[in-house]
């Protein structure tokens, strides 16, 4: 069977001259495909021996294996999820071709899907709504795709971006973080200093995070919160106000362990802004700029200047201010007006007129 596939591929590819590397790449690709087909056929055969018919949903390079009872739910979930995945990640979705996804519905009447080789299982319920399954699918697909991210970018991002058809709901908590964070870089960012935003997001200053991301009072706070109470008097001196002691204490930490003033959510939001601004191919451009500074990569992906990216991100976060708890004057007057109207209605009741 494998030889047949190989042979057909060769014939289909034609007999024109190819470079050695191209040929090698092609052979490897065909071998991968052949292996997957072989394994899928084996699994199908095994399922058949158990009397279970599996369904396979395909979208681009993605193969999603499901049991018959959840096929409709999975198809609907995939229909709602796939366009955003495809739009956001562009060519990076090719990595999905390496492994199949298996949707395991443990409460399915036909029983669990038998183990599939080179696959990732995601769990759902046979009675789940397509929207719930879509969330799980989105998480799994985004995680898989972003595994192809280079380590430098992945480390900076610090999380998995979940593309959604509309603006995600994580800007509200970000507004809160931007507003109440005690770190001075964050406070300066909120006040409009884009350079501080870069630092707070960890885009700049990675060479000396404790010094560039935090000021003296921040360092003192960090030592008080994170470090053991006594380290040869260093901590004590730091807490007494000696910044040099604070720096000395914090220098014990690996730079990569010093967290950015703004959390991973803020960086994911920045990534979200970049990919939306950059449109189709933004993610590809992001990956293509591997090795370059983060701000350069973000700007290249977005197709605008870095400052524009940060400014957009900041205004997006600030516009997500939740509804105030305070009563606006108009609401208060409207309430008073309604009270008066209802009181008049009571007075005008036929019994009391």
């Amino acid at each position: 069977m494998a030889l047949l596939v190989l042979g057909s591929a060769c014939l289909a590819g034609g007999t024109h001259a190819q470079t050695t590397s191209e040929f090698r790449r092609r052979v490897e690709e065909l071998q991968r495909t052949s292996r997957r087909v072989h394994e899928t056929l084996e699994a199908a055969a095994e399922a058949r021996t158990r009397g279970m018919v599996l369904d396979t949903l395909r979208r681009g390079p993605l193969i999603l294996v499901v049991g018959p009872s959840v096929e409709a739910i999975a198809a609907a979930a995939l229909d709602s999820t796939w366009p955003a995945i495809e739009h956001t990640y562009g060519h990076a979705i090719a990595v999905l071709g390496n492994t199949a996804l298996v949707l395991q519905a443990l409460d399915a009447p036909e029983g669990p899907v038998p183990p599939q080789p080179r696959s990732i299982e995601i769990l759902a319920s046979a009675s789940a709504r397509p929207s719930d399954v879509a969330i799980t699918l989105r998480q799994a697909l985004a995680t898989q795709i972003q595994q192809g991210m280079d380590s430098g970018l992945a480390h900076w991002v610090g999380g998995v971006l979940l593309p959604t058809p509309t603006d995600s709901g994580f800007y509200g908590p970000l507004y809160l973080e931007l507003t109440i964070s005690p770190w001075h870089r964050v406070q300066d960012c909120r006040r409009g200093d884009l350079a501080s935003c870069r630092l707070a997001l960890g885009v700049d200053g990675r060479d000396d995070p404790t010094d560039r991301w935090y000021d003296a009072s921040d360092r003192r706070r960090m030592v008080a919160g994170w470090l053991p109470s006594e380290m040869n008097g260093v901590t004590t001196r730091c807490l007494q106000g000696q910044d040099a002691a604070c720096r000395q204490a914090l220098r014990r930490l690996e730079p990569t362990l010093v967290s950015t003033p703004l959390g991973a959510g803020a960086r994911l939001a920045l990534l979200d802004v970049v990919l939306r601004r950059g449109g189709t191919g933004a993610y590809d451009r992001l990956l293509a700029t591997r090795g370059q500074p983060i701000d350069t990569r973000l700007a290249a992906a977005a197709g605008v200047s870095a400052d524009s990216v940060f400014a957009t991100w900041r205004s997006r976060v600030l516009s997500a201010q939740p509804l105030p708890v305070a009563v606006s004057p108009s609401s208060a007057w409207v309430a008073v007006g309604w009270c008066l109207l209802l009181a008049v209605l009571a007075l005008r009741s036929s019994r009391w007129r």
Partner: protein, 217 residues
């Protein structure tokens, strides 16, 4: 006259009023308990979320206070079929105003209790930077919501049974219309539209919806 009417209404509601006042006083303090002195900012998000969950109790308490005071204002007269009230030597509207005024004055009690509780909670709580306490705003909003509920239930209770029948009939007609619309598969949301108008500005219940919290950004 107002003193006499106020006394009777106070007597009829003193126990529920006490409970309402205690609840109104305690609610902000319960919020403050969640703000521990050493709360770090990264706890604040979770804290604010749990405060928001607690926030549902404020409008509920305001509505309950309004309902109890409105019902109590009319309960004794309803029992006597309003004969006593109608035979008193004052214009009828004047009598209604006395009852409403007394109920409104009594509603100030839980509002002040809430304000005091909020002030104490704000004073004893160390807030993360960027968060603020809104004790006066909270109490004012509670009072306004309570007055809306009071006047609404008061107006309903002041009406005759025929009026109540009209109101219920109107609601019934809307429900039937909505069902009919559904049966004929028309894309018209009658009840939803009306409820939406009631709950958004400048609807009467707009002040109830939204976020209620003593602490916020």
């Amino acid at each position: 006259m107002f003193k006499a009417v106020l006394y009777t209404q106070w007597k009829w509601t003193r126990l529920p009023l006490l409970i309402l006042a205690l609840a109104a006083f305690a609610l902000p303090l319960v919020s403050a308990r969640q703000m521990t002195p050493d709360a770090e900012y990264w706890d604040a998000q979770g804290l604010l979320q749990s405060l928001e969950a607690l926030g549902a109790f404020y409008p509920l308490l305001a509505a309950t206070a309004g309902l109890i005071l409105a019902a109590a204002a009319w309960a004794a007269d309803h029992r006597g079929r309003h004969v006593y009230a109608l035979s008193l030597p004052l214009p009828r509207w004047h009598y209604v105003l006395l009852r409403l005024g007394a109920a409104a004055l009594l509603l100030v009690v839980p509002a002040i209790a809430m304000w005091l509780g909020a002030l104490i909670a704000a004073t004893v709580t160390t807030l993360p930077p960027g968060l603020h306490a809104y004790p006066t705003t909270l109490a004012l909003r509670f009072a306004l919501a309570g007055f809306i509920a009071l006047t609404l239930f008061f107006a309903v209770s002041a009406g005759t049974s025929r009026t109540a029948g009209y109101v219920l009939g109107a609601i019934g007609v809307l429900v039937v219309a909505q069902i009919a619309v559904g049966l004929f598969d028309l894309k018209l949301q009658i009840l939803e539209t009306i409820l939406y108008q009631i709950y958004i500005w400048p609807g009467p219940l707009e002040i109830f919806v939204g976020r209620w919290s003593l602490f916020d950004v």
